[in-house]
């Protein structure tokens, strides 16, 4: 208990003094996860919207695979990216392993199914409710999916925030493909794991508190989006959970 209170006190001092080491790790974590999330959204939002509207043979199989991908552990994603980027792997020539790019790629792949599946569900519900009216106006599949995605933009904003939460709180994938190199690929989650094993609890706890703060901020953002939408039109918003750690 004494150790916990001492560590907490030191951790808070580290945060309050804006410790450069801590800030560097936090900044790296945020930039990697934000980049990965942006990449996943560029692909996942339109793909999910299209899957929500399009009807084709084999769609059920595609959706089953997509939903399965939601549950893939981050270490498995990390392992696959490691094998692909390793010197003997198909993309080994890029030399990305143990770099920022490799970590972004791993997190983007981890988050892509989340963005795609949740977008698909939101757009499919909208299509069921009123897709026919857009069809009646002449909107075909692709245009309808984009219009419905735009119409569900508040729900999709929640999806984006939730996927960022998933990215920033995972540890397995970035540990494997980043290597947890000090000052280079060390991020909050990998640093927490390392510092805890070394017994440097204040830094681990400080990073843990920052991570909790980030997740708290994301949840606050989701609440703000919900409030914003209800103020605008009195609607309701599906709750998305943020912070599913790997």
């Amino acid at each position: 208990m004494n150790s916990l209170s001492q560590s907490t006190s030191t951790a808070l001092q580290l945060i309050a003094s804006l410790d450069p080491g801590l800030l560097a790790i936090v900044g790296r974590s945020l930039s990697i996860s934000a980049t990965a999330c942006a990449m996943a959204c560029v692909l996942g939002l339109p793909l999910g919207a299209w899957l929500g509207v399009a009807r084709f043979n084999g769609r059920t199989v595609v959706l089953a695979l997509l939903n399965t991908a939601l549950a893939v552990p981050s270490v498995v994603v990390g392992l696959v990216v490691y094998l692909v980027l390793s010197r003997s792997g198909p993309l080994g020539f890029l030399g990305w392993l143990f770099s920022f790019k490799a970590m972004v790629l791993a997190q983007a792949l981890l988050v892509l199914p989340v963005v795609t599946a949740l977008t698909r569900q939101a757009v499919e519900d909208a299509e069921t409710a009123h897709g026919e009216q857009l069809r009646s106006l002449g909107a075909r599949t692709l245009l309808r999916s984009l219009l419905l995605a735009w119409d569900e933009r508040y729900a999709l904003l929640t999806v984006v925030i939730a996927s960022f939460g998933r990215a920033i709180s995972e540890v397995g994938a970035v540990m494997i493909v980043g290597g947890n190199i000090d000052g280079f690929t060390r991020v909050m989650t990998t640093a927490i794991a390392l510092e805890t094993s070394k017994g440097d609890l204040p830094l681990a706890l400080g990073l843990g508190l920052v991570l909790l703060g980030v997740v708290l901020l994301l949840n606050a953002l989701i609440t703000a989006v919900r409030y914003w939408r209800e103020q605008a039109e009195g609607g309701s918003l599906a709750v998305a959970m943020v912070g599913g750690a790997a």
């Binding site: 409710a129 009123h130 026919e132 009216q133 857009l134 069809r135 009646s136 106006l137 002449g138 909107a139 245009l143 219009l147 735009w150 119409d151 933009r153 508040y154 605008a232 039109e233 009195g234 609607g235």
Partner: protein
């Protein structure tokens, strides 16, 4: 004159034929330009499916549906879906989807809004309007498309009496703006059917059991003698 719609033995099944739901069964009819047709019948009788079939939102699982491709159609639903846009933006979207430039669409949207008396709400968020106002916006959206055929699926069913009267008056105005305007609407409101329709189709379990001019449907002896089920429906004994 070339008919607006021609149905020959048209059937619609939802799900697998045999085990699914038979929504329409071997419907044959012709609709001429300028006719104002009411579809009446109990819930699940096939009214909405027939409207969807006419509009091309449902495909026949058997039989044929012929539409005059030169006639622009628009459809109004019981609960209008307005996008998260301004009122004007919603109407402009309908025009834009039919190929009008966004700039022209916004201008035409304003004209359409003026016709339904909502021009002062043009910049309001569409979802903040009342049900009656939303239906009027949906009507303006249909109006803006300059359709020659208007299909309406219980357009006043979810409105309060005041809004019902407003929307019905607009539909009446819409229907009478040209002699060739064709109106097909589903309704449970027999008073509305008397006021708006020139011809009534009575549906039961996916079949058209009666197809009569409105006067014969409500007051002639024909209904009682030849269409007993429809007669009971009109008397309110079978709903």
């Amino acid at each position: 004159m070339k008919p607006v719609f021609g149905l020959a033995g048209a059937s619609v099944h939802y799900g697998r034929v045999g085990t699914g739901v038979r929504a329409l069964h071997e419907v044959s009819l012709t609709i001429q330009p300028g006719e104002r047709i009411a579809l009446v019948g109990a819930n699940g009788s096939g009214k909405s499916t027939l409207l969807r079939l006419l509009h091309g939102l449902a495909a026949p699982t058997a039989g044929q549906v012929l539409r005059d491709p030169d006639r622009q159609q628009a459809m109004l639903f019981q609960r209008p879906h307005l996008m998260r846009l301004s009122v004007q933006g919603n109407i402009a979207l309908g025009l834009w989807l039919r190929g009008t430039s966004w700039r022209d669409a916004k201008r035409l949207a304003h004209t359409a809004l003026a016709r339904v008396g909502l021009e002062e709400l043009a910049q309001r968020h569409a979802r903040t309007l009342s049900g009656g106002q939303q239906q009027r916006v949906a009507l303006a959206r249909a109006w803006a498309l300059s359709p020659q055929v208007l299909l309406l699926d219980e357009p006043t069913a979810s409105l309060d009496p005041h809004a019902k009267r407003e929307v019905e008056a607009l539909i009446h105005e819409f229907a009478h703006q040209s002699a060739s305007m064709t109106l097909v609407f589903a309704s449970h409101n027999l008073g509305q059917v008397k006021r708006l329709a020139s011809r009534v189709l009575y549906l039961e379990q996916g079949r058209v059991l009666a197809d009569l001019p409105v006067d014969d449907f409500f007051s002639g002896p024909l209904l009682q003698t030849q269409y007993p089920a429809a007669h009971l429906f009109v008397k309110g004994e079978y709903v």
